[in-house]
Amino acid sequence: MAVPSQGTPNGEQFLRLVYTHHDHDYVERRGGPLLYTHMRGAGGRGRYRRVALERADAMYATALAEESASMRVGGLGLLLLQRAMLAAEDLGGLLQALLGKPPSFERLASVSYGELDKVFLDVRDRPARILKPFILPTREVLEDEDMTAAEVEAALRLVALTRSRWLQMLQRVAELWLDQRVVAKATMHGMPLVAGELVLGPPPAGVLAETVRDPRTRPFAVAVLSRVQNERREVITDRHVVQLDHRSVARHLRAGKAAVRLAEELSQTQANSIELGYGYGLPKHSFSLLSSQERALLDEAMKRQQAAEE
């Protein structure tokens, strides 16, 4: 129907939005056209982040097989961790955008480390808040639809299974973020990460080795992060051990992939919901979690709904 367009100066050029939607005001209420188009583009972004993670994992595995726990292997472990954290930041930023009242692209494009921390702390402390943007329907919503009692029960089971799956994935990503946020910052800003074998020595690396406990896994690195206080008269240095052995790296990989998948599914759920003009969405990608009988019931309900719309 309407073709919303928005000119944005870019030197002598303008960016024009060209997607179609039947209710531009509705798109605005759901976060605006920039957030909508960002979520519609989640496929390419997710594919890139996933392949980048897999490629980092392959490099790490090859190097580990060739060189055991060398510093080069540790560096590749850090690279994988950095890529996993970029995926986590994609997800955290998207959640931050959608948790706004109203949601907005600006909240995504200006998200701070502190705000990302809050999002991931809320996964642990206030999961119901974090699950809201996933717009899973309630019993009341479903009973208002043209659905039989059996179809409603199947839909509610799908909702429960999906909620549980999403929450598990969110917890995995939140754990990665909260454990490694400091290290991730180091990987992105100058890489002040010292290889564990050089920290421990012999000879040990002087003050850098103080308070560092050998994690008994190899390789590992120590992130060294300092802050200047009291008008540059005092420098406080913190050290964080990051394990880069095969098991730890595999955990980072799983969490990174979970972040990619969540960002894709959240984007898809939201974009479909905006496109159709419904305030909730049944997670079709989770149908495989249901029995064949339940799937058949929901397929039937959806066909009826589609026919009614046409």
Partner: protein
């Protein structure tokens, strides 16, 4: 010749942590960054062969991201040794995060005189008491061993090294300014503009094709893109620049590690011995930039071969 351990900085507070930081940079960090860059280019080629434009755009942003990451790393180690916090080991400055470090470094480079570049490149250091930049050859224990012809040769090699690096650094400053916005868009949310939904038009409403375009952070609704280069040209340009940044970073690390090569540490971290013949220099320049006599003197007296 005996050595006086008191003439060296404290091994526990300065020498050993500095050495570990620099060795890690050389053996862990830079190889990882180089591998990431190569991998990003291969990823871009894979994505380009597909018909998934969204993937290709992100993969192009990924190449820019890995390339600019090297340019950013260089600024941290550069700032640490050129503008260190006073009273503590220089490497500590590289562990202090501020979002201004890369911009300050690159935007000020055009105003740097030769002395600042000599400090950056490891040819000068700061006097421990006056904090004035001084040539390495003026250090106690070193200058006594050099005759005037040695000093002249070192000075000529210093000038050639500065002349070699200055245009490279200015080029990197230009590249940082050109690509840093894409880099930030890549790192913080993957803010690539979705081609399916957004088109670029000029003032006459004629559609333009950008090789890459992103939403700017903290500036809603403003895009940033390039219509002058193809995606492949962008890849070529940023990877070349990243490899220059890698070379400069390696030089900065090697130049500082050279000072440690002469010191043998005992397992407890104390200084066991010092090789007094070595000169702590790494020069880099095309051979024709200095006289044959200078090259020969550096080689024969001190075993220094310019890289």
């Amino acid at each position: 010749m005996s050595f006086d351990p008191q003439a060296f900085p404290d091994p526990h507070a300065v020498l050993l942590p500095s050495r570990a930081y620099l060795q890690s940079f050389a053996a862990q960090n830079l190889p990882a960054r180089e591998a990431a860059l190569d991998d990003a280019v291969a990823h871009f080629e894979e994505a380009t062969a597909s018909d998934d434009l969204g993937w290709r755009d992100m993969a192009l942003l990924g190449v820019i991201g890995e390339a600019m990451q090297l340019l950013e790393d260089l600024t941290y180690i550069g700032t640490a040794y050129e503008k260190p916090l006073r009273g503590i080991a220089h490497y500590v400055t590289a562990t202090v995060y501020t979002d201004r470090t890369p911009n300050n470094f690159y935007s000020s480079l055009k105003n740097w005189d030769d002395t600042r570049l000599k400090v950056l490149l490891g040819l000068y250091g700061y006097h421990p008491e006056t904090h004035e930049p001084v040539p390495l050859y003026s250090a106690p224990g070193l200058h006594e061993r050099l005759d005037p012809e040695d000093v002249e040769a070192v000075q000529e090699a210093e000038r050639a090294t500065v002349a070699y690096f200055r245009p490279i650094l200015l080029h990197l400053a230009h590249e940082w300014e050109q690509y840093r916005r894409y880099y930030h868009a890549f790192k913080h949310g993957g803010l690539v503009i979705n081609r399916d939904d957004v088109e670029l038009v000029d003032e006459s409403d004629v559609t333009r094709i950008a090789s890459i375009s992103v939403w700017l952070r903290k500036d809603e609704g403003t895009g940033h893109g390039d219509t002058t280069l193809s995606a492949e040209e962008v890849v070529d340009q940023v990877t070349r620049s990243a490899r220059w940044a890698l070379r400069v970073a390696r030089h900065l690390v090697d130049a500082r590690l050279r000072s440690f090569a002469a010191i043998e540490f005992a397992d407890d971290g104390s200084i066991a011995s010092v090789e007094t013949r070595a000169l702590p220099y790494v020069f880099r320049f095309p051979p024709e930039q200095v006289s044959e006599a200078t090259r020969e003197r550096l080689r024969e007296r001190f075993g220094i071969e310019p890289a």
